[in-house]
């Protein structure tokens, strides 16, 4: 009797897991199928049918060339790299100062960084746009970069938390050797922050790579398109050619899939740590 009960529980467990995996995969799989179909084949076959020819890359080349995806990749990589490097350096600097020194205004400064997380940036865009406009940065790559640096303060938290676990005695022994505070920061603290930096790179990298709102609002020019805005442009002209749109979708998914498969462990840890504020 006991054995039977255990059996049903296990069946239920695996059935729900399979259902979950099915629900997560099917929407992507059908897009993958459609991306290899010809226009005629797409029109006559059901979405669940496999394509006749798995080597039909015509839609991919059409999407890649006409959608100017290479430009999108270039702009996305530029913005991701500059924002992440900037956020890491800036975040580490302010976290170092707030964690290692006790000075007047420290509490106030810490409060200011804490409170800022409460402001959902999507609500303030109306006014932020005017500020970016004031600096004549609308329609430049620096608009999103500055916003990613200034409004998403998650890096500061992750670093502050991590610094708590790096003992002061390291700083002190370096000071006995006559190292300056800058040397301590650059040679001791920053290298020790490496695991936290990995977390920041992953959490921020995914957010920036996937962001649609900021580039859409601040960089309307064709030659500044990032991956998400490039893909968004497919909507109008290819409305009747879903097989091309599907190829476009797959082009944006494949790089992230490869990164995910190779860095799985770091990605899981990154999100698990990055979320515990």
């Amino acid at each position: 009797m006991y054995k039977l009960k255990y059996g049903t529980a296990a069946v239920f467990k695996y059935a729900t897991l399979l259902l979950g995996a099915f629900a997560a995969l099917v929407p992507i799989a059908v897009v993958f199928f459609a991306s290899f179909k010809t226009n005629k084949e797409y029109g006559t076959s059901s979405p669940l049918t496999l394509p006749d020819n798995w080597l039909n890359f015509a839609n991919y080349s059409k999407a890649f060339v006409n959608g100017n995806m290479l430009l999108g990749f270039g702009n996305t990589i530029f913005i991701v790299v500059v924002s992440i490097v900037g956020a890491t350096i800036i975040g580490a600097m302010i976290a170092f100062v707030l964690n290692r020194f006790r000075f007047r205004g420290r509490q106030l400064m810490m409060g200011a960084f804490l409170l800022a997380t409460l402001i959902p940036s999507v609500t303030t865009q109306v006014a932020t746009f005017r500020i970016i406009d004031f600096f004549h940065l609308v329609d430049t790559r620096f608009a999103p970069i500055l916003l990613y640096l200034g409004t998403d303060i998650i890096a500061v938290y992750i670093f502050m938390q991590f610094l708590d676990s790096i003992s002061d005695s390291l700083d002190e022994s370096a000071m006995l050797d006559g190292a300056s505070y800058f040397t301590i920061f650059w040679r001791i603290i920053l290298p020790l922050l490496a695991p936290a930096i990995v977390t920041v790179v992953i959490v921020k990298g995914v957010n920036i790579y996937n962001d649609f709102y900021t580039p859409f609002l601040y960089m309307p020019s064709e030659d500044l398109q990032v991956l998400s805005t490039a893909l968004f442009k497919f909507k109008g002209p290819y409305g009747s050619q879903w097989e091309v749109i599907c190829a476009g979708i797959m082009i944006t998914i494949i790089p992230i899939l490869l990164i995910f498969l190779s860095l799985q462990k770091y990605i899981y840890n990154g999100f698990a740590q990055g979320s515990v504020k």
Binding site: K13, Y14, L17, G20, A21, A23, A24, V26, P27, I28, V30, V31, P47, L48, M93, V97, F103, A112, A116, L118, I119, P120, S121, T123, T124, Q125, V126, A127, R130, I131, L146, L149, G150, I153, V156, G178, S180, Y181, T183, F185, N210, F212, Y213, L217, L227, S228, L231, W242, I245, G248, I249, T252, I253, I256, L257, Q264, I267, F271, A272, S275
Partner: protein, 291 residues
């Protein structure tokens, strides 16, 4: 060069030099917009002309009396309810996958992966999914539910359920991976002790897992709630806010950038900001009291 200075002077220099840029960025791009937004919300500014007039609470009155602006709050409810379902599903899979399961890594990866995708890609994937004779309709026909297919994105009565579903698909993996991380950090000895006492899987969930990850569930719930109120990507990309799927943020963006009513849009953003902050503060108070 710095080595020649005393640590006292160095300290001053480094505090100043290291906080200047971060603080300047924080104030310019996080606080100044909030301040300006309050100011604009009492004006009739169109966003580009040199001058504007102060109109008092006129904009706020419009939001709360004109049904065009007020009804969009109702749409948030769908995403709000959706976020509860999302938490439940995430909690279920996190609990199941924290036990001994075959192909654990495969299931973990598959359930989490959608969260890593681009918002536009997800929007398009679900446009394709919900199309007439698209994936969902075909799936339903193949299991004999063909009679129940709907205009998933055409019928105003169900469009928001479809969109909230797409949103759940997108964000579930995030909650799932965080819950899984929290559950895995519970010591093995606790389970063993419970097993000796004859606790089954449900008892374990109810008395061990749930209490130890309670605060992280609450934290995620609050994130999900403010996310629901500020839903934008999915409905904007998929429907542009048509067929009754307009959300508060879409309405704000179109009011500001399409109709050039920056004053009114600012007032809407202020209302949204207040709601999010109140919900967050209530939640923080709630968590503190329990500790």
């Amino acid at each position: 060069m710095l080595n020649n200075l005393s640590y006292k002077t160095q300290r001053k220099i480094i505090i100043f030099a290291f906080s200047l840029i971060p603080v300047a960025l924080l104030f310019t791009f996080a606080y100044l917009p909030v301040f300006n937004m309050f100011k604009y919300s009492f004006t009739d500014w169109n966003g580009y002309s040199k001058s504007y007039d102060y109109v008092g609470f006129e904009n706020y009155k419009t939001i709360f009396t004109d049904s065009k602006y007020f009804t969009v709050f109702k749409v948030s409810l769908y995403y709000f309810i959706g976020s509860f379902a999302q938490m439940a599903v995430a909690l279920y899979f996190a609990t199941v996958l924290s036990s001994n399961v075959r192909f654990k890594n495969f299931f973990k990866g598959v359930l989490f992966f959608p969260y890593l995708l681009n918002g536009v890609a997800i929007g398009f994937i679900f446009l394709f999914f919900f199309r007439p004779d698209g994936t969902l309709d075909t799936l339903m026909q193949s299991v004999g539910l063909g009679a129940y297919t709907q205009g998933w994105l055409l019928n105003p009565a169900i469009i928001n359920i479809s969109l909230a579903g797409a949103s759940l698909w997108r964000y579930m993996g995030f909650n799932f991976i965080i819950f899984l991380g929290a559950i895995s950090s519970i010591g093995k000895d606790v389970y063993e002790a419970a097993a000796i006492d004859g606790a089954n899987r449900w008892h374990q969930f109810r008395h061990i897992i749930l209490p130890s990850i309670k605060s992280i569930v609450q934290l995620n719930l609050i994130l999900a709630i403010s996310g629901a109120i500020s839903a934008f990507d999915i409905p904007y990309i998929m429907t542009g806010g048509s067929n009754g799927s307009n959300t508060f943020v879409i309405q704000t963006v179109t009011t500001a950038f399409k109709y050039n009513k920056l004053g009114l849009a600012s007032a809407m953003a202020v209302v949204l900001l207040f709601i999010v902050i109140i919900v967050t503060l209530l939640q923080r108070l709630f968590i503190k009291e329990e500790k």
